[in-house]
C-alpha cells in the first residue's frame, strides 16, 4: 500500500454536506462556512510514549486522539464539525490500520464530524489533529469570563485517569518508586479498576454539556492537565483568585483512603471533565442541565478577587486547613 492508496482507502468520506464543497483528494478541502456561527479551531499533537503508550490498541488510540480534541470543542461550548488528521506511522500495516480507522470513523460518526483533510508520513508514531467546531455568534465559552462570586463547578469524577495511568505504568514496569502504592491500588475491586482504565482510554468529551452551558457559564475549560493547573488558566485569563474545597471534589469513594488521593484529584490529568464557573443564581439551571445531560455536576469552590500571587487556595473542608502542593499539573516540557 502506498501513500495514495492509503488516502483513498482510509481517509475518503462519502458524506455529503452543502458546506463541505470539496473533500479529501485535492490540495485543500473547501468549506463554505455559515455567516450565523463563530468557528473554533484548535490543533493537538500526540506522540507515542508521551501522550499514549506505544503498545496501545489501535482502536483505543484512534478513540483517544479524537476524544481529546473533541473535548477542546466541548470546553468552548462548540459543536464539532470538521477534523484534519496527520499521522506519522512506521509502516502501513493493513490489520492495524483497519482497526484504527474503524474506531476513528465510528467516533466521527457518533459526533457527526467530517474528516476533511489528512497527511501521512513514515516515522515513529505521531498524530496531529486539527478540529473545527461552531457556536452561535458571540456565545462561545471562554477562559477569561470568570467573575467574583462565581461558583466553580466540575463535571463527572476526577482522579480516575491518574489511577489508571499508574496501573498502565505498572503493567509496563515503569512505575518505579510508586510500587508500594500500586500494590494497594491493584487490590481494589475489579469494577473500580476497569472504571479507572476506561476513563484513561475512553474519556467522554462533554459536548452536550458544553453546548448546554452557553449563556449559563461565565468561563469554562476541559480538565486535561489536572484540576489546579487547568483552573489556573481560568484564573490567569480572568485575573481572579479562587478557593476550592478538597472534600467537595467529586471522585469515587474507594480512592479516598489513599495517601496520594489529593494529588490524583488536584493534579492528575487526562480526565477531560469540564471545569466551569457560573453565577450563584444559575444553580438551579445547572442542576437541571446535570439531569438532562445525565452527568453529575458539583460545586467545588468560589471565584475571588485577584489579591496576591496565590491564585488558588485549596482547603480540605470549608472550615479546614490549607493544603500545600508542590506539583500542580503536567507541563509538557517538565
Amino acid at each position: 500500500m502506498n501513500e495514495f492508496d492509503f488516502i483513498r482507502h482510509y481517509l475518503s468520506s462519502n458524506n455529503t454536506d452543502c458546506e463541505l464543497l470539496h473533500g479529501i483528494g485535492d490540495d485543500a478541502a473547501i468549506v463554505r462556512f455559515s455567516a450565523d456561527f463563530d468557528y473554533h479551531i484548535s490543533t493537538d499533537m500526540l506522540i507515542a510514549g508521551r501522550h499514549f503508550f506505544s503498545d496501545i490498541a489501535p482502536d483505543d488510540l484512534a478513540y483517544k486522539i479524537l476524544a481529546v480534541n473533541i473535548s477542546d470543542m466541548a470546553a468552548m461550548g462548540a459543536k464539532p464539525k470538521y477534523i484534519l488528521l496527520s499521522a506519522a506511522m512506521p509502516k502501513l500495516d493493513k490489520k492495524w490500520l483497519d482497526l484504527f480507522f474503524a474506531s476513528l470513523h465510528k467516533v466521527l460518526n457518533d459526533y457527526q464530524i467530517k474528516l476533511i483533510g489528512g497527511d501521512t508520513v513514515k516515522g515513529d508514531f505521531v498524530f496531529n489533529v486539527t478540529i473545527i467546531g461552531q457556536t452561535p455568534k458571540g456565545l462561545a465559552l471562554k477562559r477569561n469570563g470568570a467573575r467574583v462570586g462565581d461558583d466553580i463547578w466540575v463535571s463527572g469524577y476526577l482522579g480516575l485517569a491518574a489511577v489508571a495511568l499508574l496501573l498502565e505504568q505498572e503493567k509496563r514496569n515503569l512505575s518505579g518508586s510508586l510500587k508500594n502504592n500500586i500494590q494497594d491500588i491493584i487490590r481494589l475491586p475489579e469494577n473500580i479498576l476497569s472504571q479507572c482504565t476506561n476513563k484513561l482510554l475512553r474519556p467522554v468529551p462533554q459536548i452536550q454539556l458544553g453546548q448546554a452551558l452557553l449563556n449559563i457559564a461565565n468561563s469554562a475549560l476541559d480538565c486535561s492537565d489536572g484540576l489546579l493547573q487547568d483552573l489556573g488558566h481560568i484564573l490567569e485569563k480572568s485575573q481572579k483568585n479562587a478557593v476550592i474545597y478538597l472534600d467537595k471534589i467529586p471522585s469515587i469513594p474507594e480512592l479516598k483512603s489513599f495517601s496520594d488521593y489529593p494529588q490524583w484529584i488536584l493534579s492528575g490529568g487526562d480526565d477531560y471533565e469540564l471545569i466551569f464557573t457560573a453565577d450563584k443564581q444559575q444553580t438551579q439551571q445547572i442542576q437541571k442541565i446535570s439531569q438532562e445531560c445525565c452527568i453529575p455536576l458539583t460545586k467545588i469552590g468560589t471565584i475571588l478577587d485577584r489579591e496576591n500571587s496565590v491564585l488558588c487556595r485549596v482547603l480540605d473542608t470549608e472550615n479546614g486547613q490549607e493544603i500545600k502542593l508542590d506539583k500542580l499539573g503536567f507541563d509538557h516540557f517538565s
Copy 2:
C-alpha cells in the same frame, strides 16, 4: 522555559482582525468567517530526516515549513489567511527558537497570515501546519477540471531542488552510489549551485500567480513530489491523459548536459512551482499574467482524451522518441 511561557513568548500575536475574535490562549481560536468566500483547509506533517535534514538552520526550517503549506493555497488560487502550528521539539532552546520564530513571523507577515493556534510537545523534531485560505465563492482551482485540448503549463524552472538535494546529501555523506554524478555537479558555477540550493531551502509559493489564474486555468496543483507524479494527480482526478515534451520543460541550461537531467525535471520534487492546464484561447492572457507576476510560464504539453492505462506520455521533442521512466516521483512510504 515551560510550555506556557513558550506559547506566550513565541506564539502570541498582536494582530487585530475583525474576523479573528479570539486568538491563542484558549481551547480554540475563534474565527468569524465571511459568507462571501470559500475556505480552503489543508494540513501537512514534516519530519526531521524525511522532509528536512536534522541539522537544517532554524530560519530555513521555519521558512520551508510555511512555504510548502502556503504553496498548497497557491495551488487552489487561494489567499492564505490563518495557520495553526504544532511542534515536537527535543528541548526549548531559546537561541534556536528565537531564530526559528523570527523567520516564521517574517514569512507570516510577508504573506499577511495570522498564527491562530498551536501546540508544543517534547520529542524528536516533528512539525504540523494546518493552513486556511480563501477564494471568492465557487472560483477555486482544482485538480479535476482539466479538459481535452488544454495546454499544460508550468511556472518557473524545474529540477533545481533535485540537484540541491543531491548536494545536501553529499555534504552529509548520504549520496552513496551517486558520487560520480555529484563530482560533476559540484564543478558547476557557484551562482548555479546557489540558485539550486536556494530553490530547495527557500521555495517561493506562487500565491500571486494562483490567484491570477482564477477564471483562467481549468485545473492546477503545486509541484511538490515531481512533475510526472503531480501532473498524474490532475490526470487521475480529471479522467484524462496527456503528452508532454521534455525539451519544453523549463530548467536552467547548465543542468541539461547531465545524464540524470530528465529524471530531475520529471521526477524531482520540492520545486513548488504551479502546474496548471488552460484552454488554448487563454494563451495571451496567461502571457500577460506571466509579466505581471514576474514569473516565466511555459507550455509543456497537451491534455488528451482518456484512452488507455498510460496517463502521461513523455516525448523528447514534439516529433521525437518516447521516454520511459521507472520511478515517477516521491511516495512517502516507498
